[in-house]
């Protein structure tokens, strides 16, 4: 089972790498922010898998903190940093 956990963790890590493309590409600021939201959810899954693979239950607390704070950065973006005019395409 340990091998399965690690394989899946690695798979999710590669998934994250693919998601990075959206952060780089955009086109809107919201797209970039959404991609980091995906990062949060995937990171939680990776941490839970690693907790099981290494038999290290405290890692679940790290995942718990991630889950709790997943919304904070996105809320900061929506409330503060989202420019009023969004043309749909960033000035490249």
């Amino acid at each position: 089972m340990q091998i399965l956990y690690l394989v899946l963790a690695l798979f999710l890590l590669l998934n994250l790498g693919a998601g990075m493309w959206r952060v780089l590409r955009g086109p809107t600021a919201a797209d970039r922010m959404l991609a980091t939201q995906l990062f949060g959810t995937t990171a939680v899954a990776v941490l839970l898998l690693l907790a099981q693979a290494y038999g290290n239950p405290p890692l679940r607390d790290v995942a718990l903190v991630f889950a709790l704070l997943a919304a904070v950065t996105a809320v900061a973006f929506v409330r503060r940093a989202w420019p009023d005019q969004e043309t749909g395409h960033d000035s490249e």
């Binding site: 890692l59 704070l69 950065t73 000035s91």
Partner: protein, 321 residues
């Protein structure tokens, strides 16, 4: 077993390359907003690196700060920067200014390559096996009052470090406050969704902060992690439009801010008088003394971080008159 080790190596390699790549993109891409988003992603990946290095205490702190506070701080600063730059009507696009670099660029590369190579050489020349101070920590853990070695180091063996660290936090806040009051920005109504979210999450955040504080005695967790989670709760509430009641903004707020360093200092003086040594607790009472210190430190760290996010002295009653 071979397969497990191979998988761990692959995971570590991808993670390391990902960290370097994200850092490079965050520092090199032309748009400042994109740089901040990439930096937040970098923080998330870093938390996984701490887990991989068997440092769950560090991972907890990074998760709370990297995922919550740093991103919020940077994004809020960027928003205020944009409004101030457009107010003054600077020529040229503010977005593009992040790209402007000083020439010649090859000079720093030439200077820094040997520095990087030298640092790498020094790191690789270190002995592959070194116990460091872990043997001493393990030997003294029985008298430490807590069974989590990291908490024992932070609050007992090197308690004076933590005392001064609380003072550093306070100094950073004093620096921010000395630059003026908080900008009185008109916050939009949070709306039903954000209001509900903050009402649901804030109590859970405070509960988890208490949980981390409690388990810190025997498992990963402790005052810094709990304080960071508490600070994130404050940031979430501030973003939802909540403000400290003016009556609480004067003395009670300041008391909460200095509680950590104040009680720490009192404890230092007390132990100096009783035991003849700075922050040397009697082993029988060490556990309870550490819990008291950690509780005060958690409150102070949380309130300080939230106040730092507000970015200025909160308006007093006197200011309203």
């Amino acid at each position: 077993m071979e397969a497990v080790i191979l998988l761990q190596w692959t995971f570590d390699t991808f993670l390391g390359l990902g960290l370097l790549w994200l850092a490079w993109r965050a520092l090199a891409c032309p748009d400042l907003f994109r740089a901040i988003v990439l930096f937040v992603a970098f923080g998330l990946l870093l938390a996984m690196a701490w887990v991989s290095l068997d440092a769950p205490d560090v991972a907890l702190a990074e998760a709370a700060i990297g995922a919550g506070l740093t991103g919020a701080l940077l994004l809020a600063a960027l928003a205020r920067l944009r409004s101030s730059e457009t107010n003054v009507e600077v020529a040229g696009q503010p977005e593009k200014k992040g790209l402007k670099v000083r020439n010649p660029q090859w000079l720093p590369v030439v200077v820094l390559l040997p520095v990087a190579a030298g640092l790498g050489y020094v790191v690789l020349s270190l002995p592959p096996d070194a116990v460091g101070l872990s043997a001493q920590v393990a030997a003294n853990l029985e008298t430490g009052g807590v069974s989590n070695p990291v908490t024992a180091v932070l609050l007992n063996f090197r308690g004076y470090d933590t005392l001064l660290e609380m003072v550093v936090l306070l100094l950073a806040l004093l620096g921010v406050w000395s630059l003026g009051g908080a900008a009185l920005r008109r916050e939009d109504a949070p709306g039903l969704v954000l209001d509900t979210l903050s009402r649901l999450l804030a109590p859970v955040l405070i509960l988890v902060a208490g949980y981390l504080l409690w388990v810190g005695a025997h498992a990963p967790g402790g005052a810094f992690q709990a304080g960071s989670v508490l600070g994130a709760a404050g940031v979430l509430l501030l973003l939802a439009g909540w403000r400290l009641h003016a009556g609480l903004a004067a003395l009670p707020l300041r008391l909460a801010l200095v509680a950590g360093s104040g009680i720490f200092l009192a404890m230092a003086v007390f132990t100096l008088l009783m035991e003849g040594q700075l922050l040397k607790y009697p082993p029988a009472q060490a556990g309870i003394l550490i819990l008291v210190l950690e509780t005060a430190a958690t409150v102070s760290i949380g309130v300080t971080l939230a106040a730092l996010f507000l970015g200025g002295r909160p308006p007093n009653k006197q200011d309203h008159r």
